[in-house]
């Protein structure tokens, strides 16, 4: 303890004590958030900022018994890793915590006790930070790992078909390479906090039998706390959100648009809720009453029938409105329902993945109950069959430096006709239709570890966004303008129509005029016979794109994964190939290195 400095700053314990004497735990939490906000917004000189992940190995370097690797997009993985390290420390175990992105793959061969915490994206793909390690263990160069003891915590979302797929991949491959499981893999859904905490306790219980503890490296609880508190908003969660007052809600699309995009400004005064550009705000929605009534009718159940949710008892209608997912139908719900309603067709669907996905697409709970009715359904059975209503996360569209005590969102209203009924996205329609200035919306911050402004304010940035993908870039540019960053900002934006869908047009024009944007390129796909997209603009500007990259620029993409993410990647590869004259292989390496260096960053959904 004496040999390893606790703090990366030139402050000693005594000085800190002096600074913080008399503060309540809540005030300490607030302060940690305050400094975190400062750090991530770059106010503190970059050299003084040491990410929490880098602190951990320094503290725990005395022995190399336990390795914790995390790979996730949102920062949830990092949170759990930190919790696990803290819990290990309290039991006298030294843990080495790594972001998979920064973990030298060759070290895997030396690992003895490995905890893997990894999330899954989209159609069963690893998060960007886990891509390389995932590829490494799956490939021919993967080492044999006969001495490895491991276990996997797989983070996922049951609404996706390939639930926890990346975690399953890690679990399977590590075993195939000779590793022995400490514990069976644990898969956790969106509400991960409680099961993750249990997993930590379970795995540490098992580990205690294998690993010696070293008194010299016992870390005290406050240190573990400090690691945790680098995430200052832990106190606002899905279960405990902040009720933010709506300051303004503006439809951004001009008249005649097919799009419906809302700019929503929320008041964070006194929330102590901090975010940095690139983070997301999770909104806890409430189902629309007509939909609740449709579900009740289809289920032929009374709205007042009492149901038990954990320790709480409440009427079915209330449980459906605020506690259960109604708009999205998922495989797990279908499975549980099929057990109650033995329809042959339902069982057939569940047995055939190729038919299941198309069936689920565009159908909701009312559709299911209507087409597969059953007399066996009780209010409690329905509540138990349905999933908890998850919150929805939106990339934050504002900078706290430009709008102190506020957070802005850019929300696209999801509405469509499917299977004979008009469908509305639960959260977007909640925000669009049922929330007005003065109302309260329950929110909490979801940090996005990777989608952040460059540490150096002099670094150039290229931002490619389509539709509501513009949101984080509004935050980025505002932040960099407020900071007076020397780096140049280049925005490429796409949407269907110029006159109605140029989101935040007047603001961008002002930024361009005043230097907040060095370049602005737009693509309006439906304004001419041939469709034109942002990727076309990238190609048209290939020389500048490459020049900026060679000059160290960071490249950001935000928008629809399938429509934008892939197309921009392809376009960027073409740019590199053309401008650098590289072979296809070297082009791939160039782009891969951009990712590896965290200079190609995606926030796609």
């Amino acid at each position: 303890m004496a040999t390893v400095p606790l703090l990366p700053l030139t402050l000693d314990e005594a000085a800190l004590q002096q600074l913080t004497a008399g503060l309540t735990p809540q005030q300490l939490v607030w302060l940690s958030g305050y400094f975190y906000g400062h750090a991530t917004s770059g106010v503190v000189a970059a050299g003084a900022v040491v990410p929490a992940a880098a602190v951990a190995p320094a503290i725990l370097a005395a022995t190399q018994k336990l390795t914790i690797l995390y790979g996730s997009h949102t920062g949830n993985g990092k949170k759990i890793a930190a919790q696990a390290a803290a819990a290990a420390a309290s039991r006298g175990l030294t843990a080495e915590v790594h972001d998979m992105n920064d973990y030298p793959t060759r070290q895997l061969a030396q690992a003895q006790n490995l905890l893997v915490i990894v999330s899954t994206h989209g159609e069963g793909e690893p998060p960007i930070s886990a891509e390389e390690l995932h590829q490494f263990i799956s490939g021919p160069r993967a080492p044999k790992l006969p001495k490895l003891r491991f276990t996997v915590l797989a983070l996922g979302d049951k609404s996706y078909l390939h639930y926890c797929q990346t975690g399953k991949d890690f679990d399977q491959r590590l075993a195939e390479l000779g590793g022995n499981r400490l514990l069976d893999r644990v898969d956790v859904d969106v509400a991960f906090q409680a099961p993750a905490a249990k997993w930590i306790e379970d795995v540490l219980d098992v580990l205690a039998g294998f690993v010696s503890t070293s008194p010299a490296s016992v870390t005290s609880a406050p240190e573990a706390d400090s690691l945790l508190h680098s995430f200052p908003d832990l106190h606002f969660t899905h279960e405990n959100p902040w009720p933010a007052k709506v300051l303004e809600s503006i439809q951004l699309n001009g008249r005649g648009s097919d799009k419906e995009t809302y700019h929503i400004e929320l008041d964070l005064t006194a929330a102590g809720l901090h975010y940095a550009p690139g983070d997301a705000l999770a909104v806890v929605p409430i189902n629309h009453n007509p939909l609740v009534e449709e579900v009740l009718r289809a289920a032929r159940l009374s709205d007042t029938a009492p149901v038990q949710l954990g320790a709480e008892s409440l009427p079915l209608a209330a449980a459906l409105a605020s506690r259960r997912e109604l708009t999205v139908l998922t495989r797990d719900v279908l499975e549980r329902y099929a057990a109650l309603a033995p329809h042959a067709e339902l069982h057939g669907l569940l047995a055939d993945a190729s038919r299941l996905q198309p069936y689920l697409y565009g159908r909701d709970v009312a559709d299911l109950l209507t087409y597969f009715p059953t007399d066996q359904l009780t209010a409690q059975a329905l509540a138990d069959t349905l999933r908890p209503l998850p919150s929805r996360a939106y990339s934050i569209a504002s900078s706290r430096l430009a709008h102190p005590d506020e957070v802005h969102l850019t929300v696209g209203a999801v509405r469509y006709e499917a299977h004979g009924r008009r469908k509305h996205g639960v959260c977007s329609s909640f925000l669009a239709d049922r929330v007005a200035a003065g109302d309260e919306v329950r929110v909490y911050v979801q940090h996005n570890e990777y989608f952040k402004l460059p540490a150096e304010t002099s670094t150039d940035i290229i931002m490619v966004g389509a539709g509501t993908g513009i949101a984080p870039f509004r935050a980025f540019v505002e932040e960099r303008v407020e900071l007076g960053s020397a780096g140049r900002n280049w925005l490429l934006f796409g949407n269907p129509h110029f006159t109605t869908d140029f989101l935040y047009q007047a603001e961008w024009q002002q930024h361009l005029k005043r230097g907040g944007l060095a370049k602005l390129d737009v693509a309006f796909s439906r304004d001419q016979a041939a469709k034109v997209y942002v990727q076309n603009r990238l190609l048209e500007n290939s020389r500048d794109v490459f020049g900026w990259l060679e000059n160290g620029a960071q490249f950001y993409v935000c928008g629809n994964k399938n429509r934008l993410g892939h197309a921009v990647q392809t376009a960027l590869a073409q740019v590199v190939k053309k401008e650098a004259g590289l072979s296809p292989g070297d082009t791939t390496t160039y782009v891969k290195n951009l990712r590896k260096q965290r200079r190609y960053l995606e926030d796609v959904y």
């Binding site: 951004l252 001009g254 700019h263 109605t500 140029f502 024009q509 309006f524």
Partner: protein, 571 residues
Amino acid sequence: MADILASAPAAHSEVEHVKIASRYLRGTIVESLANRLTGALNPDDTHLIKFHGSYQQTDRDLESERKRQKLEPLFSFMIRVRVPGGVASAPQWQRMDALADAYGNSTLKLTTRQTFQLHGVLKRNLPAAIQVFNEVQLDSIAGCGDVNRNVMCNTNPHESAVHGEVVALAQAISAHLTPRTTAYREIWLDGNLLETTEAVDDEPIYGHTYLPRKFKIALALPPYNDSDIFSNDVGLIAIEQNGQLLGFNVAVGGGLGMTFGLPETYPRLADIIGFVPTAEVLDVCEKIVTIQRDWGNRANRKLSRLKYTIDRAGLPAFVAELHQRLGHELAPARPYRFHSSSDAFGWTGDPAGPSHLVLFVEGGRVLDRPGYRLKSALREISSFHTGEFRLTGNQNLILANIEPSHRARIQAILEENGAAPKAGQLTALRREALACVALNTCSQAFAEAERYLPQLLDKLDTVIQAHGLAEAGILLRMTGCPNGCARPYLGEIGLVGRAPGRYNLYLGANHTGERLNKLYREMLDEDGILRELTPLLAAYAAERQSQEGFGDFVVRTGVVQATVQGLDFHT
């Protein structure tokens, strides 16, 4: 005339600097068109594009809404397509009709200068739109701007054998005074936008700075003055003898625009200065243009029309300069007599030969709305009509030289589409009323005009009918600002917008366009307009003399003073 030149202020207005730097009207229009980030042009180009026949406008109805939406104003462009003499062919009509749907707001505006106006054209569609009407030999160059604009001519083909000659002369004047710059072709038609050829450009009449302000020429064949020639910089009155066109009386210095609060600005009727044989008309027009080019005020655009040049120099000095530039004196003016400045609605012509239909177009707006599908009807007619579509100076339309076999078919199509007003259905007041575009697109407008006038007329019709005046043609003209587009100062009743819902009321012009009206009341709202006009109309109904117009009546009874000279307008 050295003193005139010397007394002109040295400082050029901003627009003059833009013209000087424009390289014969190019400016940075090409760059403006290529800028995808805004629906607007670079500020300097907004002046230059007028010379190409277009105004940049915004939808003023959406101004605050879009501001809140963080969107720039909804910029769009009005394109004014020249039709010299007002004579368009069926293929030309078809193109304009289709363009309104493809790029405009699905309506065509027939203007008080016999042009087509497309409204709501987005910047990115400007070249395509111009190319489409170019294919049918229509253009928009000099539709607006500091040059000679569309040359007007009264459109009554059936009234005189010499009318064809007069129209041909209108077209010849138009061609002669069309700017020679190749910028229009280069920017809009060639598609080869990077190559500039101004080195070969030359403007022998205008010079590279063009005129100090807009310039207007109109021709009329007495007894009809529906082209309102006295409101033009140059008015030409055809003199006919035994079916032969002898030449024209020349009038100079007309113009209606003024600015509220600036009494040095005023509407002015043109002065007749002599007679010129037909063969010399082009030369006389050119020489008048060059005097205005050299003498006009380039420092203050509010005082730069020819009318102020003439009043500043004095008419005799102006005429002397003209004589000097012509190398001879003009002959004395010949006698003539105008009877009317209105359109004679309905069918005319020989039942056995070609016939003509003068069609009422409310507000000059060709559109479809439930129960009234004028635009569709005319589109159908344009598919077989072998005669012309003639635009009148009163925003109406003449289907001219209709084949005898088409007559019944045309009438049926108009009736089927609810576009053939039945006799007695519309009061004469409504049929003869004029309104400019005003809100929501004109940036000058203080108040509504075209969109509001029909509602006001509903209320005025009640008064008119109560006093048995349904067939008394009273000229009512409404504009949203004092600039004079719908010639409000030649209305027996003139309503000029001052503020939203508020109008100045002018009274006392006559029926032939030879007397101005005079300010009677200021800042009236609708109730005020009705309150002021009702007793006057009642008195007119009770006390008018035979054939006496409403304008003549209010002058005779001393409600307002007769005003002929522009300099007397404010007195």
